[in-house]
C-alpha cells in the first residue's frame, strides 16, 4: 500500500507521478490529514461550549478556530476528497487507461496542497489565523477590520486550493465525456461516474467565481475601491454564495453516487431507475446553481421569492433519487457489510439534513433560523451525517480495489455504531438550541439561557465521534499490518473497476469486458447463468 502510494521512482514519483490513482491517493491522504486538523479544532470548540462561561480559550482564539474549522472541512477536506474519489474511480468505471489531462491533475494536486498549507500558515503570523469565517464576509475581511497577514494567507490559500480543484473538475469532465470504453454510451456510464460528471459541471462554472471573489478581496485589502460602495458587502455575498452553494453539492454528489453503487452491490441487483436518476442529477445540479441567495434571505432587497422557489423545488430531484435508492433495496438480497451500513446511515441522516434544508428554504422560517444553531444542525446533518457517511461507505467498499487488502468487518461495525451515536448526539440537539435563539459563531452563551445541558450533550457527542475515528484508524492500521489479500472482485460488483486486479495496473486494464449497460459485470453474470451447463 505504501509502495502503491509512493509509486515508482521514490521521491520523484511522489512529486511528479501522472498516474491518476496515485494522485488520487495522495490527495485522499492529504485531505485526511487536514480532516484530522479540522476535527481537532472542532473538539476544542466543543470543549469550550460544553458549559457557559469562557473556560479554555479566549474569544479571539475561538473565532480563529471556527473560521479554520469550516475552511478546512470545506476547502481542504470534503471537496478535494470527493474529487479525488472521482479521480481514482471514474477512469476505471468508464474503462479508460488514464484520466484526461494527467499533467493538469498533477498540477491540481500541487495547487491544492500548497493552498492548504498557505491557509494554515496564517497560524504562524503575528495576528494569528484568519478570523472572518469560512466565507470571509466583507467588510469584516477588509484591511480595516481584519488587518494582518493571517487574513491575506487565507485569501491566497483559498484561491490556490480552489484553482487546483477546478483543474480536477476539468479533467474529470473530459474523462467522462471523451475517454469512455468502446460501446460505453453516456447512458451506459455508471451512476457514480454520472454523479462526478454533474459535479464537475458545477466545479467548472462556480469555482472560477470564488477565485475571482478572492482576487477582488485581495485588491480591496491592498488598494480599496472594490467593495467600498453601499452595495459592496451585498455584492460580495452574491459572488461568494454563487460558489458557496454549489460547493456543498460538489461535496454531496460523488458520495451519493458512491452510496448508489454500494446499495446496488450489496443488494445484489443493479441500480433502480437509472434514467430517472440521470435526469434528476441534471435537474438537481442546475437547481443547485440557482439557489444561492437563500443564504441572503435576511438582506433587504434580495429576490426572496425566486430563491425560495428554487430551494423548495429541490424536493423533486431529491425525492426521485430517494425513490431510486429504495427501489434498489426493494427486492434485493441484502448484505449488511460495513460499507452497506454506512450507505444506509447516509440515506437516513441525509434525509434529516435535506428536510431541514427545505425548512430553511422557506424565507419566513429562515428569518428566524438564519445564522442560528438550527442551520448549524442542518448543514452538519447533510455534510457529516450525509457526505461523511457516504465517504466512509466509499472507503469501505473501494478499499480492497485500491489497496489489495480487506478492512476488518468487526471493527467496521463498531466504527459505524459509534459514528451513528456520535453524529446524532452532537447535531440533533442543535435544532432545538437554534429554535430557542442560540446564534452561531459564539464562544460563549449566557447561563440564564438554559442551554448548558444540550451543549454538554453535544460536546459528549463530539467525543464519541472522535472515538469512532480512532476505531477507524485502528481498522486501517490492523488491515495494513495483518494483511488479508483481496481478490479482483470481493463483493460481486457491477461496474468495470471490479474487472481488473486489486490494485489495478498502471494503465488500469489488460482486457476490457463487453459493455452493454451501466452494469456490465452484472450482465456477464446473467449471461453466465443462462449458459447451458
Amino acid at each position: 500500500m505504501t509502495a502503491a502510494a509512493l509509486g515508482r521512482g521514490g521521491v520523484i514519483g511522489l512529486v511528479g507521478s501522472t498516474d491518476h490513482k496515485r494522485i488520487a491517493m495522495r490527495t485522499a491522504v492529504a485531505a485526511g490529514a487536514f480532516f484530522a486538523a479540522g476535527g481537532l479544532l472542532a473538539l476544542l470548540m466543543r470543549a469550550e461550549l460544553a458549559q457557559p462561561g469562557l473556560q479554555i480559550i479566549s474569544t479571539g482564539t475561538y473565532n480563529a478556530l471556527f473560521t479554520m474549522h469550516g475552511s478546512t472541512m470545506i476547502y481542504l477536506f470534503v471537496t478535494p476528497f470527493a474529487l479525488a474519489l472521482g479521480l481514482y474511480i471514474v477512469p476505471l468505471q468508464v474503462g479508460a487507461a488514464e484520466v484526461a489531462g494527467p499533467r493538469w491533475a498533477l498540477a491540481g494536486w500541487w495547487l491544492y496542497v500548497l493552498g492548504g498549507l498557505t491557509m494554515y500558515g496564517g497560524f504562524l503570523t503575528r495576528g494569528g489565523a484568519a478570523q472572518a469565517t469560512w466565507v470571509g464576509f466583507d467588510p469584516l475581511s477588509n484591511a480595516v477590520h481584519s488587518p494582518g497577514e493571517g487574513m491575506d494567507m487565507w485569501i491566497l490559500g483559498v484561491a490556490l486550493a480552489t484553482a487546483g480543484e477546478l483543474l480536477w473538475g476539468a479533467c474529470l469532465l473530459a474523462t467522462v465525456l471523451r475517454h469512455r470504453a468502446p460501446h460505453m454510451t453516456l447512458l451506459r456510464v455508471p451512476v457514480f461516474s454520472w454523479t462526478v460528471l454533474v459535479t464537475s459541471l458545477m466545479v467548472l462554472f462556480a469555482f472560477p467565481v470564488l477565485i475571482a471573489a478572492m482576487g477582488l478581496l485581495w485588491v480591496e485589502r491592498q488598494w480599496g475601491g472594490v467593495f467600498g460602495g453601499a452595495e459592496g458587502p451585498v455584492a460580495y455575498q452574491h459572488l461568494f454564495w454563487f460558489y458557496g452553494h454549489p460547493v456543498v453539492y460538489v461535496m454531496f454528489f460523488p458520495f451519493v453516487g458512491a452510496v448508489a453503487e454500494t446499495i446496488a452491490t450489496f443488494s445484489g441487483r443493479r441500480f433502480f431507475g437509472y434514467h430517472a436518476m440521470i435526469a434528476s442529477l441534471l435537474l438537481f445540479t442546475a437547481l443547485s446553481m440557482s439557489v444561492w441567495a437563500h443564504h441572503m434571505f435576511a438582506i433587504d432587497g434580495v429576490t426572496v421569492k425566486y430563491f425560495s422557489l428554487t430551494s423548495i423545488a429541490l424536493v423533486l430531484p431529491a425525492g426521485i433519487e430517494y425513490l431510486d435508492m429504495v427501489g434498489t433495496l426493494w427486492g434485493g438480497a441484502i448484505r449488511l457489510t460495513t460499507a452497506m451500513l454506512f450507505a444506509l446511515g447516509f440515506l437516513v441522516q441525509f434525509l434529516v439534513g435535506g428536510l431541514s434544508g427545505i425548512w430553511v428554504g422557506s424565507s419566513v422560517l429562515d428569518y428566524h433560523a438564519n445564522n442560528s444553531y438550527f442551520v448549524v444542525a442542518h448543514f452538519h446533518y447533510t455534510l457529516f451525517g450525509g457526505s461523511f457517511f457516504g465517504l466512509l461507505a466509499a472507503v469501505y467498499m473501494w478499499w480492497p480495489k485500491v489497496t489489495g487488502t480487506l478492512l476488518r468487518e468487526g471493527l467496521g461495525r463498531l466504527h459505524f455504531a459509534l459514528s451513528v451515536l456520535g453524529a446524532n448526539l452532537t447535531f440533533f440537539p442543535m435544532f432545538f438550541l437554534g429554535r430557542d435563539g442560540m446564534t452561531r459563531r459564539v464562544a460563549d452563551y449566557p447561563e440564564s439561557a438554559g442551554w448548558g445541558t444540550l451543549n454538554l450533550l453535544e460536546s459528549l457527542g463530539a467525543l464519541c465521534i472522535a472515538l469512532s475515528l480512532l476505531v477507524f484508524a485502528l481498522n486501517v492500521a490492523v488491515s495494513l499490518w495483518r494483511r488479508r489479500p483481496a481478490t479482483d472482485d470481493p463483493w460481486g460488483g457491477h461496474t468495470l473497476e471490479w474487472a481488473t486486479t486489486s490494485p489495478p495496473p498502471r494503465h488500469n486494464f489488460t482486457r476490457l469486458p463487453p459493455v452493454r449497460s451501466y452494469a456490465p459485470l452484472d450482465d456477464l453474470r446473467h449471461a453466465g447463468r443462462e449458459q447451458p451447463a
Partner: protein
C-alpha cells in the same frame, strides 16, 4: 460528439430557464449576470463539442509516467501568488521556476510526438 454536447446543452437550457424565471421575478443585475453567464457558458461548451470530432485512442498524445515539469509549473504558480504576500524574491524565483517548467513541458510534448 453528440452525447457530450447534448449534456452541456441540456444543462445550459435548464440554467437558462432558471435565469428567465429569475428575471421574471425581478432579479438584480449581478445574480442575473452570474446565472445567465453560466447558462450561456454551458451552451457554448456544448456547441463547441458539437463542432469537434472525436479523437481516436491512438491519436492521443502519450503522457510520460512522471512529469516533474508539471509539478514545478504548479508550484511556481503558487509561488507567484504567494510572492504577492511574502515578497518580490519569491515572485522572481517562481517566475524562473515557471520558465524552467514550461521549457520542460515543451520538451515532453515534443518527445511524445516523436514517439
Amino acid at each position: 460528439m453528440k452525447g457530450p454536447a447534448l449534456v452541456l446543452l441540456a444543462w445550459g437550457a435548464l440554467l437558462g430557464v432558471n435565469t428567465a424565471v429569475l428575471i421574471a421575478l425581478g432579479g438584480d443585475e449581478l445574480p442575473v449576470l452570474m446565472l445567465g453567464g453560466s447558462a450561456a457558458g454551458s451552451a457554448l461548451v456544448g456547441l463547441a463539442l458539437l463542432a469537434r470530432r472525436r479523437r481516436r485512442e491512438d491519436e492521443r498524445r502519450a503522457v510520460p509516467d512522471l512529469s516533474p515539469p508539471a509539478a514545478l509549473a504548479a508550484a511556481s504558480v503558487a509561488g507567484l501568488v504567494l510572492g504577492a504576500e511574502l515578497g518580490q524574491w519569491l515572485i522572481l524565483l517562481s517566475a524562473g521556476g515557471l520558465a524552467l517548467a514550461l521549457g520542460g513541458l515543451l520538451r515532453e510534448l515534443r518527445r511524445s510526438r516523436q514517439a
